[in-house]
């Protein structure tokens, strides 16, 4: 097995593992959110100490919002992983320069954009529910993240044009 093949196989394993972990995280969050409505008292007792002087009802709202944000992040990450697994599978099959991969890259771009935008409600949550700050995702302005979004969209366009050029060349003798 060549170095490139090992890299592709390794990437596939990492992405596939990430995909499974993320799905598990998504299900856990959905169950957690559901339980917070079915057993609100027990749920609050587990997370907030009774004499801390915190408004339990407000914090529960914050916690539910936090879980909703987590679900949104997990769904975006899931879309990203699905597209990435398919791209790696096409690379393993030896034919990655296809129009389907251009569409998959666009999906990845949209997922990354969604993840960047989710930072905004995360920051608002941290501001309005400061006691959840340790649980809420950080909101540092990330130029790298926005650059990655831009780069993936550009790459998707490059793939789309490249696959059209390749199709044209296929009929050339």
């Amino acid at each position: 097995m060549s170095g490139k093949e090992k890299l592709i196989k390794g990437s596939w394993f990492v992405v596939r593992s990430g995909f499974v972990v993320n799905r598990f995280f998504l299900v856990a969050l959905a169950i957690g959110l559901l339980l917070s409505w079915i057993f609100p008292a027990q749920f609050a007792a587990l997370l907030i100490s009774p004499n801390s002087g915190i408004d339990v009802r407000a914090e529960m709202t914050g916690l539910r919002l936090l879980m909703l944000i987590g679900i949104a992040m997990s769904v975006a990450t899931d879309r990203l992983f699905v597209a990435l697994v398919q791209i790696i599978a096409s690379a393993r099959a030896g034919d990655p320069f296809i129009s389907a991969n251009a569409r998959r890259l666009q999906t990845i771009g949209c997922a990354l954009l969604a993840l960047q935008l989710i930072d905004i409600p995360s920051a608002l949550l941290e501001r309005f529910f400061p006691s959840l700050s340790s649980g809420a995702p950080d909101f540092p302005f990330s130029p790298g993240g926005w650059l990655a979004v831009l780069m993936v969209f550009v790459l998707s366009r490059v793939f789309a044009v490249g696959s059209i050029m390749r199709d044209e060349l296929e009929g050339t003798v």
Binding site: E168, E170, G171, T172, V173
Partner: protein
């Protein structure tokens, strides 16, 4: 398509098979077959030059514009 390929006729006049041409011009038999049957979407100048050189003909002997053009 308004452009027709006359490779078959030229080969016949030269008493040459497609396999022999393939060996002479170093182009795969599959690609030459695509060209001969008119299924090719484009022809490289280098391919045309190699074929014309081997068959001692002009590009116009191989590529002919049909009168019943679709344009």
């Amino acid at each position: 398509m308004p452009i027709l390929i006359r490779l078959g006729e030229v080969l016949e006049r030269r008493h040459m098979s497609l396999t022999e041409l393939s060996e002479a011009v170093d182009i795969t038999l599959a690609n030459l077959s695509i060209l001969k049957t008119g299924k090719a979407r484009a022809v490289r100048f280098s391919t045309l030059e190699a074929i014309c050189k081997t068959l001692d003909c002009q590009p116009g002997d191989i590529l002919v514009r049909s009168d019943d053009s679709e344009d």
